[in-house]
């Protein structure tokens, strides 16, 4: 069978080379795909959290897959701090590129539009700006005495997404999770795991079409039921809080890759 549908999550992960930049959305994060990247021992990733990261990003960091994390924040929310992230940044093993949420969205939107940079309000006078040597301050060309921050467009090598459903053409339904669309428009290559692949054409149904990423933005789709577990996926399943707590306990101890995988695998 040709087309965008591939057999499984491992086949998607195999497309991501060492050193790639990968964008991951804060919600419905692709945990199964992250686990497959860990299993394939991918190294040196530049992870762009959109705009923040959670368990999937912490797992990749803890398993040694990540060299740089470009982020506005990595946290496990109600489950507390992200243990692998904090340890890796403190030790210098992972380089942080601290950002602020609207800057990550804006830079990706610039990437999606094919423009070279985008201005953004605020941010002036912060250490976020001071440490971002790729960001600049210019004078508003349309008004005097109005310094404004400009960001280079972000075009990640990969967008790694999980969604509820796709069709056989590779159209991906994202509902109201517009962050997934922003990633899909900006990334050079978009790899998607889904709960189900359906036979109907998502674009033929106006109710679905409005919330669907068209297939021409999508390189490949793999079925991965439970692909967010132990995180929740709205409309499909709730979070497995006990599994997340087990992950946190192990991650705090800094145990090696094999055990990092275990608590997530248990929940799948």
């Amino acid at each position: 069978m040709g087309g965008p549908i591939v057999s499984d999550v491992e086949a998607l992960a195999a497309r991501v080379p060492d050193g790639a930049s990968v964008a991951i959305f804060k919600d419905q994060a692709p945990v199964a795909l992250a686990r497959a990247l860990v299993a394939q021992a991918v190294r040196g990733l530049h992870v762009i959290t959109v705009p923040t990261g959670g368990l999937a990003v912490d797992l990749l960091i803890g398993a040694g897959c990540v060299a740089t994390v470009e982020t506005s924040g990595v946290t496990l929310g109600e489950h507390g701090a992200a243990p692998a992230f904090a340890r890796a940044v403190k030790s210098g093993r992972v380089r942080p590129l601290d950002a602020t949420c609207p800057a990550i969205y804006a830079a990706l939107q610039a990437g999606g539009k094919g423009i070279p940079f985008i201005p953004i309000r605020g941010v002036l006078g912060t250490d976020v700006l001071a440490h971002r040597h790729d960001w600049q301050v210019i004078d508003n060309p349309f008004r005097k005495d109005d310094p404004i921050v400009v960001l280079p467009a972000l075009r990640p090598d990969f967008g790694l997404l999980h969604a509820v459903r796709a069709d056989r053409q590779g159209n991906v339904w994202i509902g109201e999770e517009e962050g997934l669309r922003i990633i899909a428009h900006a990334a050079h290559r978009v790899l998607v795991t889904v709960e189900e692949v359906m036979d109907a054409d998502l674009m033929a149904d106006p109710v679905f079409a409005a919330g669907t990423i068209p297939a021409f933005y999508v390189e490949a789709v793999a079925p991965a039921p439970g692909g967010c577990r132990p995180l929740a996926l709205r409309g499909c399943y709730g979070e497995d809080a006990a599994a997340i707590r087990r992950y946190v306990e192990r991650a705090r101890d800094g145990r090696p890759v094999g055990t990092w995988l275990e608590p997530v695998a248990e929940a799948a």
Binding site: A86, A99, C101
Partner: protein, 243 residues
């Protein structure tokens, strides 16, 4: 009615600061500011958006939040910080020299942006100690003030802690302690604050919630809070009756 709990004093103190706001945004992990915003919604009909909430009544798209803020369509918002300093700078990144810090927190989130743009930003940190309220933050996630000539419609309005209420004086670039909560006093606050500040004279005790505020809080806000911040609502008010 039973006497006001310390959390209820904080909630009504913040709600009074929010008076007149048409649209208040608050984080999904901030129950005390969230309760204050809902109290203002009950009393004045303010729109409340809870960032990260899935509830259609409070949900706000994350791009929409930033776009609305930049247009001036969000009136009030809350920030907290691992460190807050006497210049109202907020640190959400960590302690020590960046990037390999001794303590690393999660990150700046939207603070670097929203602090410039939302007119009334209320800094809220229950813990009032010299380690949280410092002379100078180790990392400026969000800057308390900007040089003249900067587009800066927004910024700090007040700092509320578990011990007292400070108002930010934009022209002076300093906090002014305007009331102490019951059980605290000026000497206590001075000992627990790492930065210098001005003091209102005479210095009053923070006004307790009045009967109407307490009734609205317990009868109308508590049931709503139970679905958004269940652990907090249960701890403060027990299991509230279904709305």
């Amino acid at each position: 009615m039973t006497a006001a709990a310390p959390e209820e004093v904080l909630i009504t103190t913040i709600a009074r600061l929010l008076a007149g706001s048409r649209h208040v945004a608050v984080g999904v992990l901030s129950p005390i500011p969230g309760a204050a915003a809902l109290l203002v919604r009950e009393r004045e009909g303010a729109k409340v958006s809870i960032i990260g909430s899935r509830d259609p009544a409070y949900r706000i798209g994350s791009v929409a939040l930033f776009d609305l803020a930049a247009q001036g369509r969000i009136d009030a918002f809350f920030l907290s910080g691992g460190q807050i300093d006497g210049g109202a700078n907020v640190n959400l990144v960590g302690i020590g020299a960046y990037p390999t810090m001794q303590v690393r927190w999660s990150g700046s989130f939207g603070s670097a942006f929203l602090y410039h743009l939302i007119p009334k930003v209320i800094l809220f940190r229950e813990e009032h100690t010299p380690r949280t309220l410092v002379e100078r933050v180790d990392f400026v996630s969000a800057a308390g003030s900007s040089p003249p000539g900067t587009h800066r419609p927004g910024g700090p309005h007040a700092l509320v802690t578990g011990r007292g209420l400070f108002l930010w004086q934009r022209d002076e670039g300093r906090f002014r302690l305007v009331s102490v909560h019951p059980g605290s006093d000026l000497a206590d606050i001075r000992a627990r604050t790492g930065f210098d500040f001005d003091v209102e004279e005479p210095l009053p005790v923070t006004a307790l919630p009045d009967q109407e505020e307490l009734r609205t809080l317990r009868s109308a806000v508590a049931p709503q809070l139970g679905s958004i911040y269940p652990q907090f609502a249960r701890r403060l008010w027990g299991a509230p009756a279904a709305a």
